[in-house]
Amino acid sequence: MSANEYVVRTKDLCKEFTMGDTTLRALDGVQLDIRRGEYISIMGPSGSGKSTLFNMIGGLDKPTAGTVFINDVDMAQLDAHELAYLRCRTIGYIFQTFNLIPVMTALENVSLPTIFAGMANEDGVARAMELLDLVGLGERYHHKPSELSGGQQQRVAIARALANSPAIVLADEPTGNLDLKTGKEIIELLRKLNKEQGVTVISATHDLKMLDVSDRIIWIRDGRIDRIEERTDIDLRVGTVEGE
């Protein structure tokens, strides 16, 4: 297999949080390989460590031990500039709470990463409009986040995550704050982008609707990988959960 086949690899990943006297081990030796173009769901109950794993993979936090490789580059070796460069161009982030900049319009939110990437203003705006069209919000580009519904805000966030054509989109509970129907639309949108644009999607979630579209599901329990399931294994058991 070529070295480039795996876009994300983790090795013996550990993370400890110290709160007062007690040390909490949120991740305990996680070993993970994610192929280019895969749609991965990280599943697990609250407190299982999936958000921590998400933060590690996204370079948003530093592991206590172990390493994360993005495109075969050890993240621990990167300086602040290189890390910012990586976050800017290689990874797109989607959050449960959307985290749009409240003072900016949808268009400005989506074009913000292009500014950080050094793109010319007109190019950035054109790219942002294109992405807003893609997520179905082309008409509402001039609205502030507060003037959009939860589902629409998450669409803006997805468009923003894609602004610099990243290789990986990391989504932390992207449907956590949305109702069933909107959540399903968002999942389908992510799946569509994964299929059409070949973006690797890694999503931490406990939304069972995600199972349906994932290539692989990684179950986390107490900071360890409990099991990894292929899509084909679970198709039989899940059936359909739509229509609520």
Binding site: A84, R87, C88, T97, P102, V103, F116, G118
Partner: protein, 418 residues
């Protein structure tokens, strides 16, 4: 990967506009602090140019007898040798210089005038005293409440005008009569005393005084030094004067303000005979310094608190920015821009408000003339101080939390709940 400054500027401007309520609260912290500071500083400004009589409260008139609040003649120093050379008798020089190397000519003139007035009035005072002494003994015996008729006093030989003075109603109580007698004796005693002490001045020719007291230039330093010689507290006054502003009121009514802290030393200021120097009272100067320090502290703490809150409540935004690939520097720059804009606007507005309030208050109590007497440069200086303090404090108060926020790993910034 550098963000254009223009873009950062626009983003921060927009950020202020959107969060206008929060920004106004932050800005009002800066505004109030600077208004307070400038109003304290402006107090000094409106006091200075007022007419001398209005300046006196809180200020000491520095002249021959500057310790009293009195209206003494201008201190015009002459050296002993000069006075002797001009023909002033040695006894008079000794008397006026009190054994020191210089003498206060104006003081000498005043004492000489007093002496001459004394000479003129002494015979009348003696005559009155004599008349009281010659009053018949029968008129002065009895109880305090007994009354004496005016006609009896006239018959006893008391001059008509004195009788008129003490017995307006046609009679006087025995107690009052005795008091009037003692007063007449006292006046004579005092006049004879001063005559003995001031007799030396009787020999000073007018021409000598005129020659010595002509246009004589001295430096302010001379005045201060001579003043400092006279008592221990004068040292404190001199040093207070060196630290603060001084005002010279010229004989013609022209007012010159000398700020020693800015114009260098007192040596440069030349004075002529007749100029009057006002210096702030030491206690007043200390009170002002105390007020300025306190207002600085209050505005620093107020601004720091407002800016700290403004930054910490936006940790999530900072985390998001970093996830999108913003460099630490950009985050800090963004907050600096925003707080600089707020700081400048609020400081200038605060300076206007503080200055305006003081001026309006001064105008209401002392008349509109105060506006004409405030120098443009002084006002600019005041505004400069206000804006500089406001911006510095705002920036310092922003940099620390913004820098801390930018250094955090994005996950920690996103987790932070405020």
């Amino acid at each position: 990967m550098r963000l254009p400054l223009g873009r950062a500027f626009l983003i921060s401007l927009k950020s202020i506009r959107i969060r206008i309520g929060r920004s106004l609260i932050t800005a009002s912290g800066v505004f109030l602090g600077i208004a307070f500071l400038v109003s304290v500083l402006a107090q000094g400004l409106v006091q200075w140019p007022l007419p001398a009589k209005d300046v006196l409260p809180g200020y000491t008139r520095l002249d021959g007898e500057f310790e009293g609040p009195g209206d003494y003649p201008m201190w015009s120093p002459v050296s002993r040798e000069e006075a002797l050379a001009a023909g002033m008798p040695e006894a008079a020089v000794d008397r006026a210089s009190r054994g020191g190397p210089t003498l206060d000519l104006s003081k000498a003139v005043a004492e000489m005038n007093y002496f001459r007035e004394n000479e003129r009035r002494l015979p009348a005072a003696r005559a009155l005293d004599g008349a009281y002494r010659r009053l018949p003994r029968s008129l002065l015996t009895g109880k305090d409440t007994d009354t004496v008729e005016a006609s009896d006093l006239r018959a006893g030989g008391l001059p008509d005008d004195e009788v008129e003075r003490i017995a307006k109603t046609g009679s006087v109580t025995l107690k009052d009569l005795k008091a009037a007698k003692a007063r007449a004796a006292g006046i004579v005693r005092r006049m004879e005393g001063t005559k003995a002490r001031l007799a030396a001045f009787g020999t000073v020719p007018d021409s000598v005084i005129a020659r010595l007291s002509g246009e004589k230039e001295v430096t302010l330093a001379d005045v201060l030094a001579a003043a400092a010689q006279r008592s221990a507290s004068r040292k404190a006054i001199t040093s207070a004067a060196e630290r603060t502003n001084l005002m010279i009121v010229n004989a013609g009514g022209r007012k010159i303000r000398v700020d020693l802290t800015r114009n260098g030393s007192a040596e440069k200021v030349r004075m002529v005979s007749g100029d009057v120097v006002f210096i702030p009272e030491a206690a007043g100067a200390n009170r002002r310094i105390w007020l300025v320090v306190m207002s600085l502290l209050v505005c620093t703490i107020g601004i720091t608190n407002a800016m700290l809150m403004a930054v910490t409540e936006r940790f999530r935004e900072i985390g998001t920015m970093k996830c999108l690939g913003a460099l630490d520097r950009f985050v800090v720059e963004l907050f600096l821009f925003e707080s600089a804009l707020l700081g400048i606007a609020a400081s200038v507005a605060g300076a206007f408000a503080g200055f305006g309030a003081v001026m309006l208050l001064a105008a209401a109590t002392k008349g509109w003339a105060v506006f004409g007497q405030v120098g443009v440069l002084d006002v600019l200086w005041l505004f400069g101080i206000g804006a500089a303090v406001g911006c510095t404090v705002t920036l310092v108060a922003t940099v620390a939390p913004a820098f801390r926020a930018a250094k955090l790993p994005p996950a920690a910034a996103l987790r932070m709940e405020v």
